[in-house]
Chain length 335, copies 2
Amino acid sequence: MVTIADVAERAGVTSATVSNVITGRVTVSSKTRARVQKAIDDLGYRPNLVARGLARGKTYTIALVVPTITNPFFSEVVEEVERTADRNDFQIMLNTTHNVPAQGKRNLERLASRWMDGFMVMSMAADITDVLEVAQLGKPVVLCAWDQDARSAALPIVDIDFRSAGELATQHLIELGHQRIVAILELPVQQSRLAGYQQALTASGLPITPDSILRGDSTFESGYRAATAALAQPQPPTAIFAGNDLMALGAIEAIVSHGLSVPGDLSIVGVDDITQAAYAHPPLTTISIPKREMARAATELLLRLIESKDESSRATHVTLVRPHLVVRASTAARA
Amino acid sequence: MVTIADVAERAGVTSATVSNVITGRVTVSSKTRARVQKAIDDLGYRPNLVARGLARGKTYTIALVVPTITNPFFSEVVEEVERTADRNDFQIMLNTTHNVPAQGKRNLERLASRWMDGFMVMSMAADITDVLEVAQLGKPVVLCAWDQDARSAALPIVDIDFRSAGELATQHLIELGHQRIVAILELPVQQSRLAGYQQALTASGLPITPDSILRGDSTFESGYRAATAALAQPQPPTAIFAGNDLMALGAIEAIVSHGLSVPGDLSIVGVDDITQAAYAHPPLTTISIPKREMARAATELLLRLIESKDESSRATHVTLVRPHLVVRASTAARA
DNA sequence: CTGAAAGCGCTTACAG
DNA sequence: CTGAAAGCGCTTACAG
């Protein structure tokens, strides 16, 4: 490992000067700059970012905490965060919590002692209490795709108007003539979607029965199970609103394997518009979320907060991304 | 930020002693140990891992370089690597290269100057030349899910017998009576699969025509395009072997949207056995790869290499994971 | 068992 | 414009 001292020696200068030519923070005479540069090239010197991190108190890495990356929604988002960070010469420390609070707390704590420059935590992947504790460190923290109703904290946030997502989906179903509409949701993560769903029903004078809300955990399998349960209800639904596409896809699978058809017997709407939604059988009607834009916005906000020394500018930023309805073939007028 | 010096002062000892109680490397009298521990608790001290990293020359983080995480195969693998690392108190620095060599080189270089404790690069996500350059640093590097034929280097590797995957898939098709079998592959990444495919054909005395090998890039879309091209051939195939499930799924989609049926008109086999394979329409026959086992084995190997100071034990390890055929409904006897 | 000291590889005022 | 020096927060022989 060649160090800055080696370069300095070879160039006949002191390490401070080498540092200056590398960072460009202080002007160095073009003559010595050339000499130093040559020494760097000859030796193949690469600054040690760990040492720099210690000296500057900055590591050029951001912590990314997500529930999982096996959900395509998150894998796309993570990829976009990484890309944006990369463009700014930042690295990503990835952590998945699978929505288990203890894991979230553990991850955040370990990340904290690594001097991350900033934290981005998505979709309630960790307990807000633990997130706030990390925020105490003084490092910027941004929330992303975080359910508004659980926002409880004055943290910067970039997210989606999930309430409106729930409303749009439900309204669409109502307009098609459905009256018995069941929701499959992961709670509390998808609380706002629930609120939007309820709002739409209420606005149309439709009743909200206790058995119209089924729980899932955002996986395909849980959508399958919940839909199966819905079909077994005394008064089965004619439409299902699923909190995300994976559960919607699982619901379709359950319905089809029960010998029923989508949208012939039941209509299904999801949320996210993951790639597979368009290729499903039938292609899934869903609420599209501009994932990549959201990811980019959140990352850029975090990077900006990291740059700005000014603590006051870290006040609450709320960027709301509007979702929209994409009608495909999984929904139809009630028979 | 409370430092080790703060703790030392409060406990009335020197920072060396605090360090000793934390690391437990040197025995400390139980009396002072208790005093130090109390000071740690009172102050809520957390060791700064950046500083420790500099002092010890170890960062407890491993670099993970993958082509993409939007392919479910890799998202599962990445998740398992992270989980295994986490269990050993290691963090993951995630990098995606999208198979663009320049990006791979760039990522590896940046990772190198961060003093990663080890590198894991998957599925030819970076150029082997660049990988070898990183290996020069003396840090352990393990290859994973790397195509054997491109293994050119004496690096430790945990991967799949992809040649046998290609062979199993093709044999299955041949046994069903298919004679015109086209392969959709990403090259050179899936070279071994190609070799297995050719081997099976040759063993059965079937000809290998130049137009029987179509290129893809492992995405759904590329599978769709390649299958569309295959259908337009003068002598269209009755079966398709796709290098991975995503391309196989894309191929099915293309065939169905051309008014043909799977497996009625064409049989399709993929490789990977991603979750969606089982839920596809029709459920996809594929070559199952024990992804998570592979990921765990690779991570544990890397961790072991990091632990072992002994350079000699870093000789080539090759762990081959055997794939197996999973017959579902996308393949049938030739009409 | 504990302390004094040097070192990890950089950066950053501060002199000159 | 360049150098000498201290510092970032730990760890690690080495004395005592």
